[in-house]
């Protein structure tokens, strides 16, 4: 019996050997055949030499979360071969370079072997050692095409597009693909029992990584100052911003740029520059990961207390400390929510797709200026650095940036005494002025020290308390401004609920389907932001027990919900994955099933 469009292929390569473009070619060919695909890089903190993997899940049903169990392993890395052989599902396939005979320790009775003499073929066809290396990767893609019934014309089309600027390279690449394809067709039964069939399931979807979407979002949101410090996995956010800004924001006549990017000396300086630029009326942002957030705590406290708009994109990785720099986690939730000393709270956003990375980045700039406070977007390595199938980006040309309450010279003339921290509207949000607005009015010293309503330094207890209480009023105002949670049902129908967010979403959705088939029905809510609105509170109170799915050890979101909404901790049951790999539907199903059956006993 054959399985159509539902399998996992994993490629085992050596880091730094040019495998990335071959692997992307493979993933994209599936996407082009109209079938949902979810590729994930599993890479080391290394530039050259260590093992690296590329795992591609193909799912007719559109399940894009990670799935355990490899159907076809393509191994071109002897270093990891033992581990790779073991990871194949019983009955699965193992493709290897058969130039040399496979050692018996790699032989398993319960899997099938596909030997392709990659090195031999390369040595025969190419003389340049670098080409031998690169085309080895392309040959195995060609071999996979035959094994998995990938349309050869799709591969040809992709290669032609990729090398549109270097047409010389098109023919040799296609030749390499053909070598692999021919070899399999001449020596093996093809296709394998699991394989591809063309569909029309991806529609207008796009394939993009979250970091690029954030960078693009910042360009659309009108960010003009980007200050950053390199750190995996966030570096490509700033790089994408630069790439798109170079494309769209350079004056064709003068060559001058409508943006400024500074690679700062460290994360402290990066966020300092962002705060300075925003204070002076330019939209500015930085991107970092957990270690950077630790360093930025002091400045986040300043921006909170002095009420300076700030946009921070945190692409989370596995902590604590340096942790696993190239693995994913959702573990900066609490440090971000309460960053810095004293009583502080910050607005958080949780995107789960590249489209949301784009949309929420745009929202972040509006929210930062409307609320005059830091907005921290929590994405992660899985979303940021892997290509994801996503709804396409949409823009409304009539959209105006919401710059919040900023007084101009005329408004300053019309009012009496200007009070930077006077709550005129009763929503906790006060009016700010940008330097150089008015020759004689509106100036104040922005500061992290306590001050009165007129921004004059004070150590008066009442004035301090009034200010801190006003910041809470603003916090309440924020609850209705931040993106609302997404509900999976119009009305709650079950006693059990489930909460998830960010990159746990796709595996959670798949798990819900499986659980439903097994007779376990749950209502579901996806969080998009913090502070939590009333709707979040209502959802939890409407259920007997609520599972909270997240990717960290200490159930940080559960803790935040418990603390902020005053919920009995026993009501919230953690479903956790924190090994650095993206959470799977299997794990969620297992945990929830166990818990539900325990309750029934």
């Amino acid at each position: 019996m054959s399985t159509i469009n539902d399998f996992v292929v994993k490629f085992a390569n050596v880091n730094g050997t040019g495998s990335a473009s071959a692997n992307l070619l493979f993933a994209k060919s599936i996407f082009r055949m109209g079938v949902p695909v979810s590729p994930k890089n599993i890479f080391p903190s290394n530039i050259q030499g260590l093992p690296t993997w590329y795992e591609v899940r193909v799912s007719e049903k559109g399940h894009l979360g990670r799935r355990e169990g490899i159907d076809l392993m393509v191994c071109v890395n002897p270093q990891s071969m033992l581990e790779d052989v073991r990871s194949v599902k019983p009955g699965g396939y193992f493709m290897y370079d058969s130039t040399k005979q496979l050692h018996e320790e790699y032989i398993r009775e319960d899997i099938n072997y596909v030997g392709v003499p990659l090195m031999e073929m390369c040595n025969e066809h190419y003389t340049d050692p670098r080409l031998r290396q690169l085309f080895k990767n392309i040959i195995y893609v060609g071999a996979c095409a035959a094994l998995l019934n990938i349309e050869f014309s799709v591969l040809e089309e992709l290669v032609s597009e990729q090398f549109a600027g270097k047409t010389k390279l098109i023919a040799p690449n296609i030749e390499a693909l053909q070598l692999g394809d021919d070899y399999v067709k001449a020596n093996y039964t093809f296709p394998l029992p699991f394989h591809m069939e063309r569909r029309d399931l991806v529609k207008d979807a796009i394939l993009m990584d979250g970091n690029s979407a954030c960078g693009l979002g910042a360009v659309y949101a009108g960010a003009t100052v980007c200050a950053w410090y390199p750190i995996t996995p966030s570096t490509s956010v700033a790089e994408a911003f630069e790439m798109y800004a170079e494309q769209f924001r350079v004056d064709k006549e003068t060559g001058r740029k409508n943006f400024a990017i500074v690679q700062a000396e460290d994360e402290l300086a990066a966020i300092g520059m962002v705060i300075g630029a925003n204070w002076n009326g330019a939209r500015s942002f930085t991107a970092t990961s957990g270690p950077g957030v630790s360093l930025m705590n002091e400045f986040l406290g300043l921006a909170y207390f002095a009420e300076v708009p700030t946009v921070l994109i945190d692409v989370q990785r596995t902590g604590p400390s340096t942790g696993m720099p190239t693995r994913t986690q959702q573990s900066d939730i609490q440090i971000s929510a309460y960053a810095s000393h004293g009583d502080t709270k910050h607005v958080l956003l949780f995107p789960s797709t590249p489209k949301e990375c784009f949309d929420l980045t745009v929202d972040a700039f509006d929210l930062a200026e409307v609320l005059q406070t830091p907005i921290i977007m929590l994405t992660d390595l899985d979303l940021g650095m892997n290509d994801h199938m996503s709804a396409p980006f949409v823009w409304d040309d009539s959209k105006k940036y919401n710059r919040g309450k900023v007084l101009n010279a005329q408004q300053l003339d019309e009012i009496g005494r200007y009070g930077r921290y006077e709550d005129v509207d009763g929503d906790g949000i006060t009016y700010r002025t940008i330097p150089a607005t008015h020759p004689k009015k509106g100036a104040f010293v922005n500061r992290g020290t306590s001050r009165d309503e007129f921004a004059v330094y004070t150590e008066n207890s009442d004035a301090y308390r009034r200010n801190m209480e006003r910041l809470l009023v603003k916090w309440d105002t924020a609850k209705d401004m931040v993106p609302a949670p997404q509900f999976y049902q119009e009305k709650n129908q079950n006693e059990v609920g489930v909460i998830f967010f960010g990159t746990s979403t796709q595996s959670a959705e798949e798990a819900m389907e499986i659980l439903k088939e097994n007779g376990i029905n749950m209502d579901a809510m996806r969080l998009l932001s913090f502070p939590f609105s009333k709707a979040v509170n209502d959802f939890i109170y409407a259920h007997q027990e609520v599972f909270v799915i997240e990717q960290n050890r200490d159930a940080q979101m559960r803790g935040l919900l418990t603390l902020e909404l005053n919920i009995d901790p026993n009501k919230l049951i953690p479903v956790l994955n924190f090994d650095g790999m993206p959470i799977t539907a299997d794990l969620i199903v297992k945990r929830i099933t166990q818990s539900v059956s325990l309750t029934k006993i």
Binding site: M273, A282, E298
Partner: protein, 350 residues
């Protein structure tokens, strides 16, 4: 103690070309100790801005934390200020400058704020040649925490309590020069006549203008044995000469160097007129300027005045190639690529 400055002013106070009196450049009443050198520096800043007819709102005051960093509240009350966090003023100033290249950024820091916690940010602001004035009010001690030695305290200098500093001092003027600051001056808070033109020229300089001002701490570091006391500094100051700042409106006929007089043309067409006392030193040659500074140091002297100036080097915005319009004035039309471009991007991702 009153925090309200008396409003009474002589009706015939002189006015500058904007019609402002020096009063328009004052700030709140200082809360520093009576006799603090920092207040004298604030007064020099007020005078420089008044004489140059700076529009107060076209200047932004930037500072970190410490006694010195409090001073922006005590001058230029019609200018926006940013009293940021300890040692981090350079990054905040960098961001502010990126947002609007047209304002004057006036940074005030102290020896703790710059030479210790803020060293990392200071050196990088210098390295980028950020267009700003950066004054260190240098008293060799931590005044706000009651007089601990700072990193600029000289080795062997004695504190009020009698302990002797065992560590070498960081010489900020030498460091700034070494790092490539394009305007380096040194002065003494007790010499307003020298300091005021140095501040004026610094504000006109396109690039990083650093002024290290020895500013004795009257409460914690003005004792016998301290090398940052009023008496000690007065006895050991050695001026490089005097400086006059000539605004561009005034025509300069002589564009030559004559004897000990040198004219340095600033970026905006104004001039620095130098009357040199030290003849073997060339303020436009970094090696010569460094040498003069080192030689004075070896003799136990504090060399003051303009030490080095380079008016040719590109400041940060030029390095980055940013538009001449302040970035904070750009609108949706300039910034957003629009829906059509986005659908092209979508098409490229399929």
């Amino acid at each position: 103690m009153s925090y309200i400055r008396p409003q009474f002013r002589h009706p015939n106070l002189p006015k500058n070309s904007l019609g402002y009196t020096s009063k328009d450049y004052e700030g709140g009443l200082s809360t520093l100790c009576a006799g603090c050198g920092h207040d004298s520096i604030s007064a020099a800043i007020v005078q420089a801005c008044f004489e140059m007819s700076i529009e107060p709102h076209r200047l932004a005051k930037m500072s970190g934390i410490g006694c010195s960093s409090k001073t922006p509240a005590y001058f230029l009350g019609n200018s926006h200020g940013f009293n940021s966090v300890h040692g981090r003023m350079p990054s905040v100033a960098t961001g502010a400058n990126l947002a609007n290249r047209d304002l004057i950024y006036f940074g005030v820091s102290g020896d703790g704020d710059t030479a210790s916690i803020g060293m990392g940010q200071f050196v990088h602001a210098v390295r980028r040649n950020l267009n700003m004035v950066y004054i260190v009010m240098n008293n060799g001690c931590y005044g706000l925490t009651k007089g601990q030695d700072s990193a600029t305290a000289d080795e062997g200098s004695k504190s009020k309590a009698g302990s002797v500093n065992p560590f070498q001092a960081i010489d900020l003027a030498s460091l700034a020069m070494e790092l490539g600051a394009t305007y380096v001056a040194q002065s003494f808070s007790g010499d307003k006549k020298q300091l005021t033109p140095l501040i004026k020229a610094a504000m006109h300089h396109q690039g990083f203008a650093f002024i290290n001002v020895i500013s004795p701490c009257v409460t914690f570091n003005n004792n016998v044995g301290s090398t940052k006391s009023y008496d000690y500094v007065r006895e050991h100051v050695e001026a490089t000469g005097t400086v006059d700042f000539v605004p561009m409106a005034e025509e300069i006929k002589a564009s030559y160097t004559e004897g000990n007089k040198a004219l340095v043309k600033m970026h905006d067409g104004s001039y620095l007129e130098l009357h040199k006392l030290a003849t073997d030193w060339n303020p436009q040659d970094r090696i010569s300027a460094s040498m003069a500074l080192q030689q004075a140091r070896a003799k136990g002297e504090i060399l003051t005045g303009l030490l080095y100036v380079n008016t040719d080097y590109h400041e940060l915005h030029e390095t980055l190639g940013t538009t001449l319009t302040p970035l904070n004035e750009l609108t949706e039309k300039d910034l957003c690529p629009g829906a059509e471009a986005l659908s092209d991007i979508n098409a490229g991702l399929r």
